[in-house]
């Protein structure tokens, strides 16, 4: 899995491309923690190219959400693909991790 980020006007966009599984989940957590430590507490994780997520990956997103909120911000997800959407719904976490069609829309009403 490859991670990248870009600081926008009102948020930081993190891209996570590949499989978000038990191998990459700790790396996502570390990556997002570093972005938050760099001064961004409003995070959008763009999942457009995340083809797969398991419960470890979901746990990492929840950990990142908690870290963003502890820093006084929030974390939202965008461009969720079908397999990721299935995992979110089956675990009822779609109510906790708010999904937006695009990264640009995630914080557009705040």
């Amino acid at each position: 899995m490859e991670f990248s980020y870009e600081v926008k006007d009102t948020y930081a966009e993190v891209k996570a491309d590949g499989r978000l599984n038990m191998v990459s989940a700790p790396k996502l957590r570390e990556f997002v923690t570093d972005v938050i430590a760099g001064g961004s507490n409003r995070i959008v994780v763009n999942l457009e190219h995340t083809a797969f997520m398991d419960s470890s990956g979901l746990g990492a997103l929840i950990g990142c959400l908690k870290a963003a909120r502890q820093a006084g911000g929030d974390l939202r997800i965008a461009a969720v693909q079908p397999q990721v959407n299935m995992v979110l719904k089956l675990t009822s976490m779609d109510k906790v991790l708010t999904a937006y069609p695009t990264a640009g829309e995630a914080f557009s009403n705040d």
């Binding site: 499989r19 599984n21 038990m22 191998v23 797969f52 398991d54 419960s55 470890s56 979901l58 746990g59 990492a60 929840i62 950990g63 908690k66 079908p82 397999q83 299935m86 995992v87 089956l90 675990t91 009822s92 976490m93 109510k95 906790v96």
Partner: protein, 141 residues
């Protein structure tokens, strides 16, 4: 006799790289059986990776030999089946009930997810090997 249309088999040390190898096996398996619909492919892949990850993360060696992961996946007409095994492992401990944890928990959703994804899950222990048998009856398009 049951007709096996396609299959894949993996066995190796229960380490992180095994998860990627099993996932690659599954991706190539689906290329052999394009008539298996996307939903079945997606759900079954997720269940198999969850089970294999559970072994890599939690299986404890029974003796001096390291735990090995085995995944045998078969596609039969209207049935997907995987035998996900931990070789040379202690019996699993802790609750095996599938209940979802609190919403802010960062782990503990794997078993519930597996049960939601497949038709049946059974557990066998024989000769120091723990095996989870995952079966999913193919859905119609």
């Amino acid at each position: 006799m049951t007709e096996v249309l396609a299959s894949r088999s993996f066995r190796g040390p229960a380490a992180e790289y095994a998860i990627e190898a099993v996932h690659n096996d599954l991706d190539s398996l689906w290329l052999d059986v394009p008539f298996v619909n996307d939903i079945d492919q997606m759900t079954f892949t997720t269940a198999v990776i969850e089970s294999a990850s559970n072994i890599v993360q939690h299986a404890q060696p029974a003796g001096e030999r390291e735990v090995e992961l085995g995944v045998e996946t078969t596609v039969q007409p209207a049935l997907l089946q995987a035998r996900v095994s931990a070789y040379h492992a202690k019996p699993p401990f802790g609750p095996m009930e599938a209940a979802l944890p609190r919403e802010d928990a960062e782990s503990g959703r794997g078993l519930a997810l597996i049960e939601a994804l497949v038709t049946t899950v059974t557990f066998e222990r024989q000769d120091g090997t723990n095996t989870w048998v995952l079966s999913r009856t193919s859905s119609e398009d």
